[in-house]
Symmetry: C4
Subunit: 272 residues, 4 copies
């Protein structure tokens, strides 16, 4: 067994995998604790130390995996996922940018790649996305068109909601989720009483498309089942197979009977 | 190859179709940019020029399609869709009405007819509508009845929500979407404490009907699957076909055996 | 043809049924118009006249149906539905009670019994209810328990929401629909910071049960499909039937062959 | 029949089970009445007496069941459920803690264990939970990560919503339910205009995962159906069975024919 194979065995052992999961969970908790001023005052150094140790373990584990699998390492998208998360975690150490520091918690996402059942769930979620591309495209197109119309028609009346295209997009996304749309509509309707047409058409259409997006996902999920039923139909049933075998035996015996009596006629029953 | 056939080949070529999609996308973006005062100040002329060029391309493409397909042009509803959108886009050029100018962005909907996968999605959405007609009718009837009752009972108490039938319809649509209904109900209940009966019955019934509307769509979508399974049952399975062929051969050989020995008896085994 | 049969033929004729639907729709519109002070001032007499004529037509039609079908009239629940609606419509004429006057619009519900497709939809909705009884019972039990707890714990703190059991029930129904629950919870949490446990547990549980209520309806709707597939499996397939017929013929011919040669052995092949 | 068997027969009799259900319902109503100051003033003693009698009946019934079933009593999880509820109900009698007194209403949950159809529903709900564990875990992970990020980025700007991790968790749970998220986002966006990215990504992702949680439940519920169809496929159809029997008869008769003529060849048709 070469050194690389030994490293692979160690990495794939249950103990190491559980240890990595434990480090991820502990690190996620310590990063959460760092948001508390009270805890930072009392145990700030400890939290930072744990954080640095956890990061070191991640780098080590990733390096070991890279050494053990070499080219194969880059074939598994989950390895890319882990590598990017660890890489992002290494950046904030070099700069004081608050956003990047806040994103350190994304390391907790490594839990997804470390726990097999979560990996499967996320995989299933992602495979559902391509089938929904057209409906998502339609939804985005609808929101864009509605936002352009709303900006032109209502931009002067309710500038705090529709003054520019980005703000209109945000407002219309909010309306699509059904949050507080009554108030937005009423603000506009004070000046343009016919504006209810716009809002109701928009809500009905976006809800209908979103509903169908939902249905697309459900139907896709169901199709696996339907597929399974159809496949079970396509493959020969064992019952019918035994019928066929028996029938072949019957046929063979009849051939015997026929051949035994007038073998010369067997091949040409038509010319009798 | 006639001139019309050559035009058809050009129109259906991948390059031309992609170019049209590109023009639609670029035009949608420029119309979006026109909503920005900042961009209009700096690049207003450019945006208007692109807009006019895009419109010219749409008119040209539509004319070419009309020339190439003649009567067949009007058989495809998507051609009607495109023709109406381009026609609407030509109107605002002749008048300064703000609403019509805002509707120019509807041109972006041409993306739906230009991208085949979007065409299919919209087609699927539209075929789902007729099956829901009865439930939608029931929902509209319920909202109308509730609005008449609410106008009569609560019109004097909360006039800003229920003074006239149209406003009641709007308020009840808002309540059906679940937006802010608690506040509306509480305003009314300050004067008529028993009003909760109306609101809760209305919410339960409209939600239940809307839920069934939803289920109707899902079940319709599923039925294609169920249909497929049932059809696969109805069509003769290849397995069973081979059993039948073999059985026919067995039968024919038995006839041979019987006929060979006492051919006169074969047709009348009963009178033996 | 007796007089009763002639009345039946007239009542069931397409023309009469469409006329009744028209009267229902016109009456629904005029009752809606009566809510408008502007229209009542100008055309109040006309609206009242139409209303009275429509009611007379309903009474006449119902009387004719009762005469034509006699005992059979009371077997169809939709006739009961119509009779009750018309009876309710006759009451307000005798008294000035505003609530009963407002309920006159319920006459528009006759549209449901007059249009066959709506009848089917409502029938389907009602058949779905018994299957959901247990889950609805569970949901009601949960809301009741939560309301008693909320009244005892939060009644003194936020009396405008939880002072008495009925008000708590209303508030908790509102929270279950997800309307404005964040504010309600925050009001309570100002005094009892641990109250988030109550609200989050309540929202998770009620949403989960409501979700399963929804699933029960979907699964019931699907079961018809599943049922159909299972039935199509249970009934003999025509394919297999022809195989069986052919096999019976083969068997009969073999009997002929066996009997012809050594008929005495046919019945007892075992003792050879 | 021993004493224990007689007790069992009595406990399982319909009359006793209905009586227990009645006591549960009456007790739930009286505990509800105790929340009303008006009723407590007038009939407080009566309510307390009913409560104590009901509790005594519960203890008695549970004791009888324990006596009748002994060890088997602890095998049914519903008995544990009843025992814990009654035990909790006995605690508040010994102390004046308001929370425990409020939890007395949990006794009404005994209705679930006493009514068989509710028992089945709750059983079905609980069996659905394990299949959703991974998706729930993913959802919790997402909310946790988002809460840490929000606390770090928005904690100083909108302290009343994001100052500490627990409050951020509550706010993000509220946003996930779609309640009032527009206002929360706008408060933050006044200081950090790019915050819409955070909120929209969070809403899209959490809604998508919650949607898939929902789908997992539906698909699980459906699978029973699919399972049933597949099983009905696997078990031998009675049709095919009769075909096989007939074919076996045909085969046996052919063997007779063959054996009768040249019995020595029957076992070795290959060497002819």
């Amino acid at each position: 067994m070469s050194g690389r194979e030994r490293v692979r065995t160690v990495l794939d052992s249950r103990l190491v995998q559980r240890a990595v999961i434990l480090v991820i969970v502990v690190n996620a908790i310590t990063i959460g604790c760092e948001t508390s001023a009270y805890l930072m005052e009392r145990a700030g150094d400890l939290l930072h130390t744990i954080d640095r140790v956890a990061l070191a373990i991640f780098v080590l584990e990733l390096g070991a995996r890279l050494y053990a699998y070499r080219a194969a390492f880059f074939k598994d998208p989950w390895n890319w996922f882990d590598a990017i998360i660890v890489a992002v975690a290494l950046i904030p150490a070099s700069g004081p940018t608050s956003v990047l520091r806040a994103l350190r918690i994304l390391r907790a996402l490594r839990l997804v790649s470390a726990v097999p059942s979560m990996r499967r769930v996320v995989g299933a979620l992602l495979t559902a996305v391509p089938g929904m591309a057209s409906i998502i495209g339609l939804l985005v197109l609808m929101i864009y068109i509605a936002a352009v119309i709303a900006t032109k028609l209502f931009g002067d009346i309710v500038p705090e909601r529709f003054d520019e295209l980005p703000r209109s997009l945000f407002t219309l996304f909010q309306i699509m989720t059904g949050d507080d749309w009554g108030n937005v509509a009423q603000e506009v309707m004070e000046h343009k009483p016919w504006a209810w047409i716009f809002f109701i058409v928009y809500i009905l259409m976006s809800t209908f498309v979103a509903l169908n997006l939902f249905i697309a996902v459900v139907v896709n999920a169901m199709n696996e089942d339907g597929e399974a039923v159809r496949q079970s139909r396509a493959e020969p049933s064992p019952e019918l197979e035994s019928v066929k075998r028996e029938l072949a035996a019957v046929n063979a015996k009849l051939d015997q009977l026929l051949m035994r009596e007038r073998p010369e006629e067997l091949r040409s029953p038509a010319d009798r």
